[in-house]
Symmetry: C2
Subunit: 344 residues, 2 copies
DNA sequence: TTGAAAGCGCTACCAT
DNA sequence: ATGGTAGCGCTTTCAA
């Protein structure tokens, strides 16, 4: 651990207080109203060029920066889109999505803010978000109930969107049903003649949100076939994988859906190390279509996931903000398709 | 691309306006002052139990949530710590660090907010942040100059901390000099007798912040030895790696520092595919000590990186906030040590 | 073209 | 124990 040294604090000069528009007005020799007109380019009012210049100079000289809270208090609304930061570790796929979303919302002139509420949950969290009076809230993942939605709306949020595994009353829901991921994998394995299918279920807490539906998806895919499913709880480390591999023959599986590409790499490695052939003895399928899958040998079969584009979501938010009468709906937005390579 | 359908907007009921403390006061039959005392548990004032109850009930019935902007406007300060979201894709290492930091700051009763300013740069960005009047600003990476620091401080930020590759006047700087990473790798390779060392430099824009110092670090490590450095620009895809591998023999290198573990995997795979032996023909060293390095065969030698703990940084921020007189200093906080496995 | 002033929601001082 | 009220920084009528 790298320590940040603690230093003794020598005395220092007092900080000048923060300049306000009144200070600018005083320095420019005009009223606060005029300052506001000039700095906001208010078109309904004509201000003479010399005055404009004086105001701008005064503002620059003082290092004036408007006070967002005061402004939105006065205006009665803000353009802040609040998005709680997920407290689960997220992959590159999701990061990219969030990035696109932020970019698109910025283009639409919203201020995007990720709120790091760690300990809070449920309505308590919703209340904390509501205190900031965001014009819209985008909640990734579960955890927001109808109550929470109500709290947010009562506090002025004109759009509440959740990216959730299940519908939420009152909110615009982008249904991210990971079942389709498992389904793709399961269908693929069944079609290729596999009958004893293992499904890796990560032991990491917080991954259950994804792993449970993926497992259910595989179950759905094999329904009506002779194939059977075996759950394989697994921690993301080599020893755990080694232990799993050691009892592999006794499990009698001919295929495994490894939750995602990273777990797939872990499993493939462990199987290799105990002499289980992939795909001949056991087929392996990952998910997420990460680069690493392409680099493995045999090349990893995987499920490619399509999230909605950040732009689409940004537009949904914008429409909902501009038309609060819009009735919230629930849409399936998770796409999944198998990418067949060499491991299956 | 998954499309989010656009729906026609039917008419809908008007939204009741947001309840304020005045509404609560009216409903409870008390003054706004009393409401404030009750809801904030003001210890300087005694409120009778029946009154408290009435206030709480009224607040709950109305779904009252205090208005953070109004509160901090009145108070003259907030407990918001603002952190611009990095617009470079960040790895698991850094994500973990940010998470820890958020957690630690929450424990200290700060509200952590990641600000998604995409298009802004330099002082423009600083001004946008300053509008929110955060009590502290933590800037990951370069891009904040002394000007920006001044803007933030003039706007009331009591602590400005940057995690930067180089010192910034006026700010508390946690120097993340990635040179030490390259140095560790370089020293290791030289000690093991390698003399013609390639250094992968990712072509991805935005990674230059890291790759340049890492390259310089390797240069530093070989200074005074007979070893030579060859820069190897490389995009993160298989074809590019294949092209690099194809001309590998002609490069005459006996070792390569691959920027990080992911690039190392890419390079190792490409070298393998053209029959270059690792480590016998060419040694490979990665960086970041990701799990995938342990799963490769040969196991990947890598540089383990130690970031400061989130807790330490949170404490630094807290101290700086409580004692604005504290003079800003610059500290090296990036630790690096070689993890020797099988690829070198 | 510019200024005076009200008021957004909240808290803290001073009365009662 | 409770209420009246000023004022945080800003925008926006309304007057001049």
């Amino acid at each position: 651990m790298v320590q940040i040294p603690k230093e003794p604090a020598p005395p220092a000069p007092l900080q000048r207080s923060v300049p306000t528009s009144a200070d600018v007005a005083r320095l420019a020799g005009v009223s606060r109203a005029t300052v506001s007109y000039v700095l906001n380019n208010t078109s309904a009012v004509r201000i003479s060029e010399p005055t404009r210049r004086r105001v701008h100079e005064a503002a620059k000289e003082l290092g004036y920066v408007p006070h967002a809270a005061a402004r939105s208090l006065r205006a009665g609304h803000s353009r802040m889109v609040l998005m709680p930061t997920p407290n689960v570790p997220i992959g590159p796929l999701y990061s990219q999505f969030i990035n696109d979303l932020q970019w698109a919302l910025s283009r639409l002139d919203y201020t995007v803010v990720q709120y790091g509420g760690v300990g809070l949950r449920g309505d308590e969290a919703a209340r904390a978000w509501a205190e900031l009076r965001p014009v819209a809230v985008i909640v990734p993942g579960e955890g927001l109930g109808p109550q929470g939605v109500a709290i947010l709306k009562r506090s002025g949020a004109r759009a509440v969107v959740t990216l959730s595994p299940e519908p939420v009353e009152g909110a615009h829901v982008l249904l991210l049903d990971h079942g389709v991921v498992g389904e793709s994998a399961g269908r693929h394995l069944v079609e290729r003649g596999h009958r004893r299918i293992g499904v890796v279920v990560p032991e990491e807490p917080g991954l259950g949100v994804f792993s449970r539906p993926r497992l259910e998806g595989v179950r759905r895919a094999v329904r009506g076939t002779e194939a059977t499913i075996t759950e394989l709880p697994l921690a993301y480390d080599e020893e755990a994988a080694g232990r799993l591999a050691a009892r592999w023959r006794s499990l009698g599986l001919d295929a495994v859906f490894a939750y995602n590409d990273e777990y797939a790499m872990l499993v493939m490695r462990a199987l290799r190390d105990v002499g289980v052939g992939v795909p001949d003895d056991t087929a392996v399928v990952g998910a997420d279509d990460l680069m690493l899958g392409r680099l493995l040998r045999p090349r990893l079969s995987t499920v490619h996931i399509e999230l909605p584009s950040g732009r689409d979501l940004a537009e949904l938010v914008d429409r909902a903000v501009r038309d609060p009468a819009m009735v919230p709906t629930t849409h399936d937005v998770l796409g999944a398709r198998i990418v067949h390579r060499e491991s299956s």
